[in-house]
Structures are given as C-alpha cells and as structure tokens.
C-alpha cells in the first residue's frame, strides 16, 4: 500500500490533497487532534518525515518531506469566555477570524504578529511571532494559558490549562511557543485575553532615525506606557523618512492622559491618526514582512537598539526594519545570503544578542537554521528535548542549521 493510500485509509480520502503543494508533496489535513495523533503515530512506525503547515501564508511550504501536515481543518473556537477573559481555539484558526469573533464578544488578543491577516494561530505560537504590541503586552508566551500538542510519535500532551495562573507541572507551553514545531504539532491553544480597549489611538512622528530614537527614549523617561512604540523604516512605513508610531490602548481616561503626556514629553510633534489610518498603518507593516524573501528578529537591550540598527544597516541593509526600542527587539525583512546571515549572527552573538530566522526559503533555513548555534551547554539540552518529543525525527524543521 502506498503512503497516500495508507493515509487515506487512516483519515479518510478527503483528508489528503495530492496536488496542493508546489513541490508535489501530498498534503494531509487532519480534522481533529486525534487524527493528528493517529497520523503521527503511523509516521513514527513507518519512518515518514513530515513538515507542518498552517495557512501557508508565512513560512514557505518547501521543506523536503514525505507528507505535509496542515492544521487548516483544525479551525474551531471551542470557547470564548468574556467574563474570564480567556478563550480556547484550535491551532488552524486564522488570526483574522479569531480576532473578529473575539471582538464580537468584547475581547481582544493583544498580539499583532507579522504576516498576512489569515495567518494561523498555531503558526504565530509555534514561531513566537510578536509584533509592536510586545511593548505593552509582552511576547507571545505571555498570552498563552496552555497548549495541547501532538508529539512526533503521536502522543497527545496537555500543558497548562484555561486559568490565568497555573504552576501545576512543568511549563511545556513555553517550549512549544517559539519551538518552530520541533517539539510537536500544536493543536489547541488556551489564550489570555484582554477587554477590547475602549480607546485606541495611534500617533506618528516622522524624522531621522537618530532623532526618533531620542524621542523614543524621552517617551520612556516620561513614564508613559504605550501599547506599542515602534520605529519603522521609510519603506515599511510608506513614508519619506523614518517613522515612530506610538499606540495607546485602554480606558478613555488612560488614553487621554497618555496623549497629554506624550505631547508634554515631545513638544506636541506627533500627528494623531484616524482609526482607519491607524489600522492601515499597523496592518501594512505586518503584511510587508510576509512579502520579503527573508525575515529575522534580533533581541537586544533597549540601549543597544541604535547600535544594532547601525549593524544591520552595515551588514544587510535597513530597508525593511521595524524596531521596538523600548524592549530592544528588532524585526528585519529583505534579501540576503547564507554567508551574510551567518556573519551577522556571529557578530550579534558576540554582543549577547540572539538572531532568530523567522521566514526564508528552505535552502537558507536549512543552512543557517532558525536558531543557529546555541550558547555553550544548551545544545545537549535542546537535542535531548527534541529526542523526547520527536524520537523518530518525523518533523522536518531547520532548527540549528548546518554550520
């Protein structure tokens, strides 16, 4: 029996799409977590290698594999609890659909990951892709109450739960968030929500990068706590010069006070955007990263943002750059080579700054890896964790690269 026939026998003929992928790898779309477990259990027995896909809008679907497992049929939202500000959603739900359903219930997931609006929740969690809102609401992991995932040998594992505080057992959710799928297929996510902000105001200032970096420091020194404080390159902001976008979200009183504080701290130089302009500004910036051949993120310190931006400009250019100077995080998009990325990563490692490749074609991913070399001592731990959750090496993930 062929591999495809075997999968059809397991999951039903409608779960397999033979012609869907550009490279002809059969795509399987299990309709339940149990079906994912069945498939992966069989993959372990048969030695099949799989790549995991969501909506196919972020990571190129090009990893060499026997099967492509897509989560797109895992698209249910079993629970939204406005009173508890929590929700449970399957991993294949599109972020746009999820966002709308949450808003209909007066709730908000304060994450604005890069990519197209329909990017799946599972993809965002697996890659730990936060956006400008990380300034006010933290990285992806801070929004997760728990996950259910399926290991490479088909076991279903739960971590965390549905409540907002939970220290029962080891926090395996942290391993799944940002594990790039190397430790299991995320099938279900329990989310921490916020109430939909009553007021949400974005203000923008154009200028030189140096000038705007100083303004960002002034904002931090004034004790303002914006939801987002993002420095965007001209191409990304679709403006003549660099732009510093500030977003305040919360109660009307809080946002009004923050706006007044911003005026006081910066001399009233910012321009307030209308709601539709603000939506367009943030959405375009997020989507731009889905259209560049390569996207990576670096995590430095707030006071190193300027130095890191200089370094990027020097080594790989700075046409498509978005930086959160308040937290030291920078996202870069553009074209580059394996050698340049390796050199940049080595330089950054000397500064104690990790570089994580978020998006690239398989040859580059395979060569440099999402993470590259680990710091001393961590490699054996990570290798051990991979063996634990994927003993048969079923998942095709370019974790370390080949250097």
């Amino acid at each position: 029996m062929s591999l495809v026939d075997r999968v059809r026998a397991l999951l039903g003929s409608d779960a397999v799409d033979l012609a869907a992928t550009p490279d002809g790898v059969p795509r399987v779309a299990p309709a339940s977590p149990d079906a994912v477990a069945l498939l992966l259990g069989t993959a372990r027995e048969e030695g099949w290698r799989l790549r995991v896909e969501g909506a196919g809008t972020w990571l190129p679907a090009d990893a060499p594999a026997d099967l492509a497992l897509t989560t797109r049929r895992l698209d249910k939202i079993p629970a939204i609890e406005p009173q508890d500000l929590s929700a449970t959603a399957e991993a294949g739900i599109g972020c746009d659909v999820l966002r709308q359903q949450l808003a209909d219930r007066g709730t908000w997931l304060a994450l604005d990951p890069p990519g197209l609006a329909g990017r799946t929740l599972g993809s965002v969690v697996a890659t730990a892709s936060s956006g400008p809102l990380r300034q006010g609401f933290g990285p992806v992991r801070d929004h997760l109450l728990g996950v259910t995932f399926v290991t490479g040998d088909g076991r279903v594992v739960q971590s965390g739960g549905k409540v907002v505080k939970n220290v029962a057992g080891y926090d395996l959710t942290k391993l799944e968030a940002g594990g790039f799928g190397a430790f299991g297929v995320i099938v279900l996510v329990h989310l921490r929500l916020r109430a939909l902000p009553r007021a949400d105001q974005t203000l923008v200032l154009e200028g030189t990068r140096e000038d705007l970096t100083q303004v960002a420091e002034d904002i931090a020194a004034a004790g303002l706590q914006p939801a987002a404080l993002e420095l965007m390159s001209p191409a990304l902001a679709r403006r003549e010069r660099w732009a510093l976008a500030v977003r305040f979200a919360g109660s009307a009183a809080l946002v009004a006070a923050d706006e007044a504080g911003l005026r006081a701290a910066t001399g009233g130089r910012f321009t307030a955007l209308r709601a539709d302009e603000a939506h367009g500004c943030w959405m375009r910036a997020a989507e731009s990263f889905a259209t560049r051949p390569v996207t990576f993120r670096v995590g430095g310190l707030p006071d190193s943002s300027d130095e890191l931006l200089d370094l990027l400009q020097h080594q790989v250019g700075d046409e498509w750059v978005s930086a959160s100077p308040g937290v030291g995080a920078i996202r870069w998009g553009g074209e580059t080579t394996v050698d340049r990325l390796r050199r940049l990563r080595r330089t950054l490692a000397g500064l104690e700054v990790p570089l994580t490749v978020e998006r690239a074609a398989w040859p580059l991913r395979a060569a440099v890896g999402h993470f590259g070399a680990y710091r001393e001592g961590a490699g054996p731990l990570i290798a051990g964790l991979r063996r634990t959750f994927d003993p048969g090496e079923a998942f095709v993930v370019a974790v370390e690269g080949t250097e």
């Binding site: 080891y170 006070a257 993120r297 670096v298 961590a378």
Partner: protein
C-alpha cells in the same frame, strides 16, 4: 535500606567542608531539624546533611561532588514555600542558597537587574527604588522569600494581576545542572536563544538544576496609585463584583479578597488595618499608572462598579500611610491567622474568575461538613484561591480530616475548570492531585523533560510528577528500576540513616 556507612558519610561531609568551610556544613540533628519543614506544616523531612555555599563556584563544586558520588540533592532558598517542595530526605544533601545574596547589577537604562538566588525579594525592589524602579512579583512572603525560590516556584503575588508572575519577569539564567555543568539560558533582552529554556526552567521546582545567576526585568514605580477597600454582605456578592471589574476592561494592579474569618483574625492582630469586622468579605483594589488623572478616573469607574454590584461602602486610602496599613493587613493575613489555631494549611488553587462565587460557597460547605475553620484570603482578580484551614495537629484524627477536606476543595476547583496550584507549586503536597488534571501521557512527557535536565532524577527527587501515574515514554524505561523517581539507592556512595524524629 542499606545501613549507613560512616566512613562514606564522613568523607562526604569532609569533602563538603573542604568546599564551603566546616561551619557551613550542618550535620547535627538539631541543626538539620531546622530545615525539616517549609511554610506548610503538614510535611516534615529531615535532610541528611545541610550545606550552605557562599559563592557560585562553591555551588558548582558541591553539585559536582554530589554528582560524582551519586547523592541526591535538594536546593532551598528561605524555606517559605508552601508545598513541601524544598524538603530533603535523610539520604539527600540540602543545598541552602541564602548566602548567595548579592545583587550583582542594576541597569536602570535597560531596566534589569542581575542577582544571586539568595537575594530576598523585597531587597531587590529596595535597591532599585533610587532609580524609580521595582521588581513587581510580590509574594506575601516577600520580606523573607528569595528570588531563587521565586524562580523555582514561578511565584506570584497580589500585583501579578496586572504585571504577571515571576516567569514574565525573568530574562536570563545561569544554571548549574545535576551533573555540575553550567549553562547560560536566555539573553538579557529577553529573546530566547533558541527554544525558550528560561520559560521552561522557571517553575520547575528545583528539578532542572540550580539557578546561580538570575537576570530579571525591573519596571518603573507607578507615579499614581489608588487603593480602595470595598466591603460586602456576602462572599457571593463580592465574587460577582470581581468578575464585573475584570470584564470592565480596567486592569487593576491588584484585586484581593478576604472573608470574615480572615478579616477578624487580622483585626485582632498587630496588623489591624481597619477592615470592617462585620463584613462577610472585603475587596482590596489597587489601581496604578503613570498619570494621576487617568488613575483617578479609572478608580472612580471601579468604585462605581463595586457599588453597583453590592458593595456596602468603598473607601479610598487617603495617603501612603493608610495604603500601607491596608496592604499590611492583607500581606500579614497568614501570620494573623496563627491566632486562630496552632497549625494552618495554606491551600492554593485557581478557578475561572466567573466561577468564584459558586466555588467559594462550595468551599464553605466543605469546611462546615468537616467541622473545620476555613478562611479565604486570595488573589481574586486572578481567580487564585487560598482557602486556609486552621487546625491543631496534636488532635488525633484532625490532620486526616484536613487532608480530606483539602482534597475535596481541590476536586471542586478542578470541576469548575480550574487547577490545583496557581503559585505555590506541586512539591510534595499536590503530587496526589496531578493525575486529576493531567493524563498519563502528559505526566510522562513532563517526566521525560525532567530527565533531559537531570537523567538520574537526583535533583529534588520525588517532587512535582507522580511517577506511578506516568505512562511509559520513549527512552525512560531504564529509570523504572529505582525506588524514588528512578534514583537507585544502591548506586549512592552516601548514606545517612533517617532520623528517629523523621516521619
């Protein structure tokens, strides 16, 4: 158990003394008994040897020595934990980290600090205060508990409602693994270096190794604060008011509840805060932010929500002194409850916030059925309950009743969609409840992860994961031969007989 070998014990003690100095190795029974409990009175274990290293390198040398000899070890901070998590058996060495108490760096520009594990929580905030910064996780024991212990337990505290628990504030760690290897996890900016091993380590209850350097995030001290006290005629009404505040979209810095039993214990103590003694419950609500006007406006909205949901009165602290008094009553409530009886079990569970009214009633019914005094003082905004059972452990049969009532309370919280611990950890105390919330595969996965960090399961053995409930996991079969978490006593070079006083 194999009889102790005095020569091996002596050689181990000598070797430990050679590393940390003889005065920092405790072997006499009365000294070891000092470490036989943590903050939970229902568990008691006397460690074989207690060692107090004073430097990071001494920790590494001690761990390497114990690895060479195959001796189990248990890391311990100030011993304020509430799950029996830092107790060591007679065949283990307890490594007390309170002498590693240096604040190595405060970086105001990047709002971070690097500390040793034995730094007392509140001391870090005091050191950061001149820079207008503080360390926000604030367990009730913050005047005694250590940052290292907070990392091990992923500790919370009242202000975690707005600012998050310990895991949200730890950026990087230096960890000594079970075999003595040292690994650097995370980065000072908080971006993981590969998979998020910092996030995985925080809350691992000492099973993954010993954190010897901890980089934490500091936050600005809020410029504006309003602290409100609202009192209610019934627990249910107070619980409903909590849900209403949360659903309003305003996120208080803290939202705490105390019931009448707790209120009266506080008011009868030196920590009397002026809580109304006739109230069935009080809510302590704190709002903070960078702007006085905004915080004032939000406080007015919250006060209105509280009144419209049944508050008899809402009082705002007039000044810093009154605010501190209101908080002192809350933070010392556990101490005040010492007045009620000789022993106190501080329980810890979490329920969805909307379930609070029902669950509080159920807890009251369970207490009444078992004839026990149950007081509630807890983080209502997080749904993090602390039902406290006062009892006298000397009364025959009473401890068994307390255990049974605790079990029923946990079952009720799980049935409401909650979990068995929100901030105290599993330790020894909650092991029996783990199979109620995790299936065999999930427990086995946890155990397999632990064995990646500590293949012999020698660090803080017997905690967190109930081995009997784990399904078999790839690669872990060979661990089943031991008697406790796979640790095989016949391989140990060290024996100290259990104390006659130990259980």
């Amino acid at each position: 158990m194999t009889p102790p070998s005095p020569s091996q014990s002596d050689s181990l003690v000598d070797a430990l003394a050679g590393i940390v100095g003889a005065r920092h190795v405790r072997t006499a029974l009365p000294e070891r008994m000092t470490y036989a409990r943590d903050g939970l009175p229902t568990h008691r274990r006397v460690p074989g040897v207690v060692v107090l290293p004073g430097q990071r390198d001494e920790v590494i040398a001690v761990v390497r020595l114990l690895a060479t000899l195959g001796v189990p070890l248990v890391p311990r901070g100030a011993g304020t934990g509430l799950s029996g998590g830092a107790l060591a058996d007679g065949d283990a060495v307890l490594i007390v980290l309170t002498r590693l108490n240096r604040i190595l760096k405060i970086d105001p520009r990047n709002r971070l600090a690097v500390v040793e594990p034995g730094v007392v929580n509140v001391r870090l905030s005091a050191a950061a205060a001149p820079h207008g910064l503080h360390y926000t996780p604030d367990p009730s024991s913050q005047t005694a508990c250590t940052i290292g212990g907070n990392v091990a337990e992923n500790s919370g505290g009242p202000h975690c409602l707005k600012y998050g628990v310990t895991a949200n504030h730890v950026l990087a760690l230096e960890v000594v693994l079970a075999d003595g290897r040292v690994v650097e996890l995370g980065s000072p900016g908080g971006e993981p270096w590969g998979p998020d091993l910092v996030g995985l380590f925080v809350g691992s209850e000492g099973n993954f190794g010993i954190a010897t350097r901890i980089t934490v995030r500091l936050l600005p001290v809020p410029r504006a604060i309003r602290t409100q006290l609202a009192d209610f005629d019934s627990l249910r009404t107070a619980g409903e008011a909590v849900s209403a505040v949360i659903a309003s979209g305003i996120v208080p810095a803290a939202l705490e509840m105390m019931d009448q039993s707790c209120i009266r214990a506080v008011e009868d103590s030196v920590y009397a805060a002026g809580y109304p003694r006739d109230a069935a419950a009080v809510l302590l609500v704190e709002l903070d932010g960078g702007s006085d006007a905004a915080v004032e406006a939000d406080a007015a909205t919250v006060a209105e929500i509280l009144r419209s949901h049944g508050a008899r009165a809402v009082r705002t602290a007039a000044d810093a002194a009154e605010r501190e008094r209101l908080w002192l009553g809350r933070k010392k409530a556990f101490g005040a409850m010492g007045r009620l009886s000789r022993d106190l079990v501080v329980q810890d569970a979490v329920v969805p916030r909307s379930a609070l009214p029902d669950v509080l009633e159920t807890i009251g019914e369970i207490g009444a059925r078992y004839g026990l005094t149950v007081s509630n003082v807890f983080h209502a905004g997080d749904g993090n309950l602390h039902p406290n059972i006062s009892f006298d452990g000397r009364v025959p049969g009473l401890k068994a009743r307390v255990d049974a009532a605790s079990g029923e309370i946990m079952t009720a919280c799980i049935a409401a969609g909650g979990t068995i611990t929100g901030e105290h950890g599993v330790g020894l105390d909650k092991l029996r409840y783990m199979p109620l919330i995790f299936d065999g595969d999930s427990l086995a996965a946890m155990r397999a992860v632990r064995r990646v960090w500590d293949p012999e399961e020698r660090v803080n053995p017997g905690k967190v994961v109930p081995i009997h409930a784990c399904r078999e996991w790839y690669g872990s079969r060979n661990a089943e031969r031991g008697t406790r978490n796979g640790f095989a006593p016949s391989g140990s070079a060290f024996r100290v007989s259990r104390s006659a006083f130990a259980p």
